[in-house]
Symmetry: C2
Subunit: 212 residues, 2 copies
DNA sequence: ATATAATGTGACCAACAAGTCACTATTCTT
DNA sequence: AAGAATAGTGACTTGTTGGTCACATTATAT
């Protein structure tokens, strides 16, 4: 809950402040992030930050919800559930997230670190909420798959979910690492490479790594 | 490189200091860990810590290598490579790690956080080294599998590795969470449950989640 | 037993950064 | 245009904690 003053700011300034804050938190972590640096990054005085937020923690928490809401909107727009199964979702979802990554590397990286728990107990609640939403969604896809006959029925949904998440999360992490190492500007060649790995991952998801 | 004084300490005191430090770093993170608290935990004065280590960072780094060396020893003892394939390894490795977890929850949790990058750039080098060792090992198992005919040969090892790691890491993370929530004292019932999930994971690894 | 070296200690110091506040600048109201 | 309200500012205060150091204690050497 930012202060009244913050809400009355014009959108541009609000966004400047938040993005500067996210950049600092992302680069330095919560403890090492300096309010002074955030203020400088946003082009305001340190005192102003305290007109907007009670304290550092509140600012951070607001950044977290801001980033997550941004994604919720984006994801809602892009992926109509329809009657996809897990494989379609992994394929199309990965492409979408990849596009988003090119547009908003900072936000994606920040959200990723929230999700993977790098901010520790501070962002725990948000991170749990994020997991819950994703899980719910994926469980529905698994159920869809079972109905459509593309997912084996001898295992319970929870186990299938764990397996699916393991593979997709690792793939996402790999992408992040690759893309980070080239300053979020992958070449067309690298893009093809990832596409290739993605297809193989889906094949592995479906058929496993055992021989036949 | 701790100071000469530290090396001359008797083993018991050394271990008390390191374990107190790991406990504090684990509970609070690097920035919030207080030297005073570590000293208290180890039953020595704050000044003594500075007889042993140049500064907080050196102490932390030493904790990291200490914990990792502990595991290296443990793992070397337990898992002779022989000619296991990835499935055997996952099964027996999981059991071993589970036993270790019961004995040394603190060290396992600490190492896990190093591996997952929760300590950020501070432990980056150690975490990379840890990954490298694991990877090398797993790549050999994959090669074994291909030779023995238990792993499909149409995909390159790197891709298979990514898939394998995704599944196993997620499984480990799940175990950690479960076990943490009961103060590292799982009931026999919970143990069976994990064993069950483990077997299903192996089935999924081998055959995938596709029908047939 | 005495001298010397090594280790232990906790009050203290210095640095740093979160958060405050007295003042200025701007915007809104009538 | 005057006054009131709101927003902006950065020098200053304050709490915290990593690290020091002068002294106390213990171990080692002769």
């Amino acid at each position: 809950m930012p202060k009244r003053t913050f809400h009355r700011l014009d959108d541009d300034k609000k966004e400047r402040v938040i993005r500067a804050a996210i950049e600092e938190f992302q680069a330095r972590g919560f403890e090492n992030a300096k309010i002074e640096a955030i203020a400088r990054g946003a082009g305001v005085a340190k005192g102003s930050i305290y007109q907007y937020f009670d304290d550092k923690k509140e600012l951070f928490l607001y950044c977290v919800t801001w980033a997550l809401e941004y994604f919720m909107k984006e994801i809602d727009r892009q992926t109509p559930l329809q009657d996809m199964d897990v494989y379609d979702y992994f394929l199309s979802g990965s492409r979408e997230r990849f596009e988003l990554l090119k547009q908003e590397p900072l936000l994606v990286a920040f959200s990723m670190e929230i999700y993977t728990g790098k901010f520790g107990s501070l962002a725990l609640e948000a991170s749990r909420e994020l997991s819950r939403i994703g899980e719910e969604y994926e469980l529905r896809l698994i159920a869809n798959g079972k109905r459509k006959g593309t997912v084996r029925e001898d295992l319970d949904d929870k186990t299938l979910l764990l397996f699916f998440q393991g593979v997709t999360e690792k793939f996402d992490a790999e992408i992040m690492e690759k893309v980070e190492s080239v300053d979020y500007n992958p070449t067309e060649e690298q893009y093809r490479e990832m596409e290739h790995v993605l297809k193989n991952m889906i094949s592995l998801l479906k058929q496993g790594m055992g021989r036949n």
